[in-house]
C-alpha cells in the first residue's frame, strides 16, 4: 500500500472522528448551560480550551460568547478544527483515495460535507442546533458503519481505525483535563449538586453516561467517572480501550514493533497510575503525560509508514 494512501486513510479516520466529537461536545455544553444557575459562570470558553484553540480564537474574537464560539467551532472554514474544517479535510482525504474506499462511503462523506456547509448556520440558533449536530453525529456513525460493512478489512482499513482511535483517545483526555479543571472543589453543598451535573456532562460528552450508570450504579462521583473514562477497557471511548484498539490495528501492519513499544509504554503508565485517586493538579500532569504518549505513538506511525526515507 502506498504511504500517501495509508496516510490519507489515517487522517480521514481522524477528521471524521474529530467532527463527530466536536458535535457531541457542543451539544452537551448547550444542554449543560441550560441547567446551571446563573451564579456558576461556565460559558463557552472551556470548549475553546478543550480543543486548544485559545490563541486562534482570541485573535479573532474579544469574548467567548456562545455565538462566537459556536461559529468558530462549527462553521469557520479557516479553523481546521471546526466541524466544517474537519469535514472538508476528511472529504479531501477521501477524494484523493476514491478508488480505495467503497463508493458509498465516498458519497456519504461528500454529502455530509455539503450538508454541513449548507446548514452550519443552524448550529448558531439554539432551536435548530440539536438537529444540526445530531445529523453530523448520525451521518458519521453511518459512514463508520458503511466502512465496517463494505470495505475489505485490509491494511487500509486498519490505518483508518488507527486514526479514529488515536483521535478518540486524544479527545477523551482533553475533555477530562479541561472539564475537571473547571469543576469547583467539593466544599459547598449547594454547588455539589451542580458539580454532579457537570460530571454528568463530562460523561455525556463522551456518550458514556448510560454505560457508566450500568456499570456504576452509585451516584456520580469524580473518582468513578475518571476510572470509567480512563480505565474501563470495554467502553469504546475510554482511553484504555482506544489505546488497546490502536495496538490491535498496528499489529496487523508490517514493521509495527517500534510502534507497539510506544503503545505499551503508555498503557503501562495508565494502568499503574490509579488516576481516580489523583488530585486535580496531579491529574493534569498525568493527562499531559498521556497526551505526550499519544503524540509519540502517532510520530512513530508517521516515521514507520508515511515519512520514511
Amino acid at each position: 500500500m502506498l504511504s500517501r494512501v495509508a496516510n490519507n486513510l489515517c487522517w480521514m479516520g481522524r477528521y471524521l472522528e474529530r467532527a463527530e466529537n466536536t458535535a457531541r461536545l457542543i451539544n452537551v455544553n448547550s444542554n449543560l448551560l441550560l441547567d446551571l444557575p446563573k451564579s456558576i459562570v461556565l460559558g463557552w470558553e472551556p470548549i475553546v480550551d478543550i480543543l486548544s484553540f485559545r490563541e486562534l480564537y482570541y485573535a479573532k474574537h474579544k469574548e467567548a460568547t456562545e455565538r462566537g464560539v459556536i461559529t468558530f467551532m462549527v462553521a469557520d472554514k479557516n479553523n481546521a478544527g471546526s466541524i466544517v474544517g474537519s469535514l472538508s479535510a476528511a472529504r479531501e482525504n477521501a477524494r484523493t483515495i476514491r478508488e480505495i474506499i467503497p463508493r458509498e462511503a465516498w458519497e456519504q462523506i461528500n454529502e455530509l460535507y455539503l450538508f454541513a456547509i449548507d446548514n452550519c448556520q443552524k448550529a448558531v440558533a439554539r432551536r435548530s442546533r440539536y438537529e444540526f449536530l445530531s445529523k453530523i453525529i448520525e451521518s458519521n456513525q453511518m459512514i463508520t458503519g458503511i466502512l465496517a460493512g463494505t470495505m475489505t478489512h485490509d491494511e487500509g482499513y486498519e490505518f483508518l481505525r488507527v486514526g479514529r482511535n488515536i483521535e478518540r483517545a486524544d479527545m477523551t483526555t482533553r475533555i477530562i483535563d479541561v472539564r475537571s479543571a473547571s469543576l469547583l472543589q467539593e466544599t459547598e453543598t449547594e454547588q455539589s449538586a451542580f458539580e454532579n451535573l457537570q460530571w454528568m456532562s463530562v460523561l455525556k460528552s463522551l456518550t458514556a453516561y448510560q454505560m457508566y450508570r450500568r456499570e456504576m450504579r452509585l451516584r456520580i462521583r469524580r473518582p468513578d467517572v475518571l476510572k470509567f473514562l480512563l480505565l474501563e477497557d470495554r467502553f469504546p471511548r475510554s482511553l484504555l480501550h482506544t489505546v488497546q484498539q490502536a495496538e490491535q490495528c498496528v499489529r496487523t501492519l508490517p514493521n509495527h514493533e517500534g510502534i507497539v513499544v510506544h503503545i505499551k509504554a503508555l498503557e503501562s503508565k495508565l494502568l499503574a497510575a490509579n488516576p481516580q485517586t489523583l488530585i486535580q493538579e496531579k491529574l493534569h500532569e498525568f493527562i499531559d503525560e498521556m497526551q505526550l504518549g499519544l503524540i509519540s505513538i502517532f510520530d512513530a506511525i508517521n516515521a514507520t509508514y508515511f515519512y520514511h526515507e
Binding site: 500500500m1 504511504s3 500517501r4 476514491r98 463508493r103 491494511e155 501492519l253 508490517p254 514493521n255 514507520t304
Partner: protein, 484 residues
C-alpha cells in the same frame, strides 16, 4: 409515439443513422424502429435511468470554472447510440494501424538519424521550430522503437460520407474510460438492443492496455509493477486515471509517491518501504515530468525519472518527446510520412491542410480566412482556434495578425461539414454533429479499440465536441450485420 423519423431533417448533411427523412440506413433500421415505438414516458424514463447510472457510477469530469474554481460535472451523455457497420470499421481499423505505425517510425527517426529530413521529405526548418521536439531524447530509442504506445486519433465524416483523420493525440490522450463506461450505461438502458444486434464488445481495453504495459517491463518478471502517474485530483481527467488504474489493478500514484534512487531505478513509497516500479503509464505532460530536466518548478513530476528511463530501468508510456509528431503542422505531412516509411498510400484521408509557414498557402489562408478553420499547432481541447464562418470580421482580422506574426504556429483547413446523428432533445430527436476518437495501442502488435469514444456537440449547429466546451458523448456500436 414520439420519435417520427419522417420529420427528422437530414438536409444536405450526412447523418450516421438516417439516410434521408424516414429512411434509416440498413444497419440502423432495427434501432430506429425500436426507438419509434417508445412512448414519451419511456424515453424520459430511459434518459433518467442513464443519468442515474452515470451518477451512481460516479462518471465525472472536471471543468475549470471562473467563479467556483474547478468542479466535478456529471458526464453529459446521449442515450441514442452511434452505429458503424463492422465492414466499414474494418477498413478504418487497418488505416489507423498504418497511420500509427508510420508515426512511431517517424518519431524514432527524428530523434536518431533524421533520414526523412535528409531525404528532403520533412523540412528541416519545421523540425527546428518544433516546440515538442525534446533535445533530451536525441540519440535514444525506446524498446521496439515505439514512442507513442497509446494514441487517440480523432475521426470525422464530411457531408459526402468520407472519413477523415482530424488529428492524432500522441501525448496523453484521454476519453477511453468514458468509452468503457458509456457501454456499461447502455447495457442498463437498452438491454433489448444487445439481444437484437451483434454489437462488438469494447471491454477488452483495460486488459489489452495492461498486457501492452506489462510487456514493456525492463525486468523479466511475472508480475511487473505498473503504476498510473496522475497530476492529481484537480486534473480534468482524474476520473479516467483512477478508473484505468482500478481496472488494471495498477497503483495510482502522484509524483511525490515516486522517487528515483542512486541506482537510477524508480521506486514508490509504500508502508513496507521503497518498492521498485517497472512501468509508468504517465498522464502528465512532458514539461512537468521531470523537474531535473524540464520545468524545474514542477511538483507534479518525479526528479530523475528521465535518467531512469534513459538507463533503461523504467518504461514510460507514452515516451517523452512523442508529442513531436502530433502538432497540427506535422499533421499535414502524415500522408507523406506514411509513404516514406511504409511505401504505402494512406488508407485514411487527411483533411486538406494549409501550412501557413509556406508563403503561397499563407496567402491563400489570409485571403479565405472567413471560410476556414484556423488552428494553432500546439493547443488541444479546441482552445485558441478560429472557426471562420462562425466568427466576426474583427476576429478574422485578429487571426490574420496572429498568423503573420508566427506563421509556423498555424495551419488552416477548409470548414468540413461534419456528419450528424439523431440526439435526444427533450423527448424529440434532432441531428447533432459528432466525431469519433478511437484509441490505438502499440506494443509487440497494434490493437485498436472497437469503435471508440463518440463525442457529440449538444448545442444545435455547433461542431465543438470537447467536453470542456459543452460537448457530450454517445456509445459507439460497431455492429456486425452478417447473418442479421
Amino acid at each position: 409515439m414520439t420519435i417520427r423519423w419522417g420529420s427528422y431533417k437530414v438536409g444536405h448533411l450526412h447523418d450516421e443513422l438516417v439516410r434521408v427523412a424516414g429512411k434509416p440506413r440498413d444497419y440502423a433500421q432495427v434501432l430506429c424502429d425500436y426507438l419509434r415505438n417508445l412512448s414519451d414516458a419511456e424515453l424520459v424514463e430511459y434518459k433518467a435511468a442513464a443519468e442515474s447510472a452515470i451518477h451512481v457510477m460516479g462518471i465525472t469530469f472536471r471543468v475549470y470554472h471562473d467563479k467556483e474554481g474547478s468542479i466535478d460535472r456529471a458526464w453529459p451523455f446521449d442515450i441514442i447510440p452511434r452505429l458503424i457497420d463492422k465492414k466499414e470499421w474494418q477498413t478504418i481499423e487497418v488505416g489507423l494501424k498504418q497511420r500509427v505505425k508510420a508515426l512511431n517510425l517517424f518519431i524514432d527517426d527524428l530523434y536518431n538519424e533524421q533520414k526523412i529530413v535528409k531525404d528532403g521529405v520533412f523540412p528541416a526548418d519545421l523540425l527546428k521550430k518544433s516546440e515538442n521536439f525534446l533535445h533530451e531524447c536525441k540519440g535514444f530509442s525506446p524498446p521496439l522503437g515505439i514512442w507513442a504506445h497509446i494514441c487517440g486519433s480523432d475521426l470525422v465524416r464530411d457531408n459526402k460520407g468520407t472519413v477523415y483523420v482530424l488529428e492524432d493525440n500522441l501525448r496523453v490522450p484521454s476519453g477511453v474510460s468514458y468509452m468503457l463506461e458509456n457501454r456499461q450505461v447502455m447495457k442498463r438502458v437498452f438491454p433489448e438492443m444487445f439481444e437484437q444486434y451483434n454489437i462488438m464488445p469494447v471491454d477488452n481495453y483495460p486488459s489489452d492496455l495492461y498486457d501492452m504495459l506489462a510487456a514493456m517491463s525492463p525486468r523479466d518478471i511475472a508480475e511487473p509493477e505498473i503504476v498510473v502517474l496522475t497530476p492529481g485530483i484537480y486534473n480534468s481527467a482524474y476520473f479516467e486515471h483512477a478508473y484505468l488504474a482500478q481496472q488494471m489493478g495498477a497503483e495510482l500514484v502522484v509524483g511525490s509517491d515516486l522517487v528515483v534512487g542512486d541506482d537510477d531505478c524508480v521506486y514508490m513509497r509504500t508502508i513496507n518501504g521503497l518498492s521498485r516500479v517497472d512501468v509508468v503509464y504517465r498522464r502528465i505532460d512532458d514539461w512537468f515530468l521531470d523537474p531535473e530536466v524540464f520545468n524545474p518548478e514542477s511538483t507534479l513530476g518525479v526528479p530523475g525519472i528521465m535518467r531512469a528511463w534513459k538507463a533503461g530501468n523504467v518504461a514510460l508510456a507514452n515516451a517523452p518527446g512523442s508529442g513531436v509528431a502530433d502538432d497540427k503542422v506535422v499533421y499535414a505531412f502524415v500522408p507523406d510520412i506514411i509513404k516514406y516509411y511504409l511505401g504505402e498510400e494512406a488508407i485514411l484521408a487527411n483533411v486538406p491542410t494549409y501550412k501557413c509557414v509556406n508563403p503561397d498557402e499563407r496567402a491563400y489562408v489570409l485571403e479565405n480566412i472567413a471560410s476556414m478553420v484556423v488552428k494553432p499547432a500546439n493547443e488541444s481541447g479546441g482552445y485558441g482556434m478560429l472557426i471562420g464562418p462562425h466568427s466576426s470580421a474583427k476576429e478574422h482580422e485578429k487571426f490574420r495578425k496572429l498568423i503573420i506574426k508566427d506563421p509556423r504556429n498555424y495551419v488552416a483547413q477548409p470548414m468540413l461539414i461534419l456528419s450528424t446523428a439523431p440526439t435526444m432533445v427533450d423527448t424529440k430527436v434532432e441531428p447533432r454533429h459528432l466525431d469519433l476518437r478511437p484509441f490505438i495501442l502499440s506494443g509487440k502488435d497494434i490493437k485498436v479499440t472497437t469503435g471508440g469514444l463518440t463525442r457529440v456537440a449538444m448545442v444545435k449547429g455547433s461542431t465543438v465536441v470537447n467536453s470542456s466546451q459543452g460537448g457530450g458523448s454517445k456509445d459507439t456500436w460497431i455492429v456486425d450485420m452478417e447473418g442479421m
